[in-house]
Amino acid sequence: MTNTIETQTRPSLSTQQLEVSIGPQHPSTHGVFRMNVVLDGETIVKLKPVMGYLHRNHEQLAENMSWLGSMPYTDRLDYFCSMTNNIAYALAVEKLMGIDVPERAQYIRVIMAELTRLVNHTALVGFLLNDLGAFFTPVLYAFREREKILDLFESVAGSRMMCNYMRFGGVKLDLPDGFVDCAKAIVDNYPPFLEEMERLLTKNEILMARCQNVGILLKDLAVNASVTGPVLRASGVNYDIRKIDKYGIYDRFDFKVPLGTVGDVYDRYYVRILEMRESLKILRQAFKELSAGPVISQKGLIAAKSPRNMKVPAGDAYGRIEAPKGELGFYIVSEGGTKPYRYHVRAPSFINLTILEDMCLGHKVADAIIILGSIDIVLGEVDR
């Protein structure tokens, strides 16, 4: 008995902790993110994220321009999901101005938001696999599907990535002819793609060995750290703002909120796959119920025509939506002028990133990379 304790406490070799700086130029940090890692052998003892390499002064710039002027800047926050960023910002300003959104515009917003979720989750699965060592092949599959949806975005907004499509009180333009048919075709062809992806990945032994029981995030910690989005739901917390807040017209749709059980990287991956299936459900319902009508309210149209003169009543408002990465919120304070007095973005991936260390401790370096990948960060949003 005493012998074993001795061998356990006495190290056979004298070791030394090693400090490694991963990033900002690193193929798997999803941008210009840097982490300072202290290693004992290969095990992570300490991890400190270093941010600010893409700090583009988003909030300060928005405080110095007209209300609509910062709409294109919100595109560049989370550059995978420009549509949802637009919606969140529009929602905040609409709350403050008291503008209604017409029925058709609401449906268009839901369609765009769910298509964006498909784009984001598909790309994320590709990049996650990239981090796991399946270099670029899953990304090829993911981007093949992404391009189809980007074509839709281009047809409505004129730009592939930076859509700048939402306006206060509606959307910029009506859907072009044939949009719904094209979108329906994409939605119908999505399940086979998801099945193909799942056949390759979900029961894949390497994926399971690498992802299961890695980076476990417990329920309590996740709630205390105010983590949101698929990361939170993978830990088993039923929190989806589409269900809780029912912003827009989300109360009309019938969909489930997929939950994980363990809260590891595998659950985070699988929750996203299931979420995509739910998004497809919402899309099908939205296509069915989409009716003709105006796409922007009268008040919104006046505001959109002369954005520099647009004034917002004094007060503050917080608009939040369930963005693909979590709760995206815009907090704005107005003094009644043509510019916001204060403009703050609650970026989901920034807040989700704060628990990176807790998830990584005790794991190997290679696991830290996939844990980071499973959080799904976009540096445009983290550093803003």
């Binding site: 130029q25 294109p72 391009e147």
Partner: protein, 233 residues
């Protein structure tokens, strides 16, 4: 185009006759440039939004592999081309310049998107560098926010044209005393020090005027103080 300027040129008629028989006549230089232009390895280095379009260019639909540039290298030592894809912030600038310095010759730079050309929509930001050409020489600028993948391919073709026009004799990286490493600016509380590299970039005239005016005002301000001027005398 011969290797040396005095080398004999081949009759075009004879050349085409030989080509029919399966004999290709070329110069060493053409062969050399053909090899280089067809295997430009970019650095796998994304900064912001444009990086996603860069990845899209590498994917199946646009397929940058058709131009021989599909091999994105994570290490600057193995890369020929740096695609500066995204906003270069002041905090990131030292790293970008260091990466450029670490690349082996011959090396090229493409700036992709409005941000890396001149700050783009974020130009007014206090932490945004107004163009990476202030610190490193740039071969091709691709405007757009973000540029479409086709635009990146066009930029790559422009770069290939540039490579075609280079000759072994006068190539910069074979010359003696040619300096292709640039000082890395320091990032501090007052931004970048120095704010630009005068070897590579010079401020435009009106900017220079503004600067001299500001300096003149400063000097004027000190002269107004009689005590200080007395001390300096």
């Amino acid at each position: 185009m011969g290797l040396a300027s005095g080398s004999p040129t081949v009759d075009q008629g004879l050349k085409s006759e030989l080509e029919k028989e399966g004999v290709v006549l070329t110069t060493l230089e053409q062969l050399y440039n053909w090899g280089r232009r067809s295997s430009i390895w970019p650095l796998q280095f994304g900064l912001a939004c444009c990086a996603i379009e860069m990845i899209a260019t590498a994917c199946a639909r646009y397929d940058i592999a058709r131009f021989g540039a599909e091999l994105f290298r994570p290490s600057p030592r193995q890369a020929d081309l740096m695609i500066v894809a995204g906003t270069v912030t002041k905090k990131m600038t030292p790293q970008v310049v260091r990466l450029y310095n670490q690349m082996a010759e011959p090396k090229y730079v493409i700036t992709m998107g409005a941000c890396s050309i001149a700050g783009g929509p974020f130009k007014e930001g206090y932490n945004v560098l107004q163009g990476i050409d202030r610190f490193i020489p740039v071969d091709v600028h691709i405007p757009g926010c973000p540029p479409r993948p086709e635009a990146l391919l066009d930029g790559l073709m422009k770069l290939q044209k540039k490579i075609d026009g280079q000759s072994i004799e006068s190539a910069e990286w074979y010359q003696q005393g040619q300096k292709r490493e640039f000082p890395i600016p320091a990032f501090g509380p007052k931004g970048l020090e120095p704010p630009y590299n005068p070897e590579v970039w010079k401020p435009r005239e009106y900017e220079q005027k503004k600067q001299t005016e500001a300096e003149a005002r400063k000097i004027h301000g000190t002269i107004h103080d009689p005590k200080q001027s007395a001390v300096s005398q």
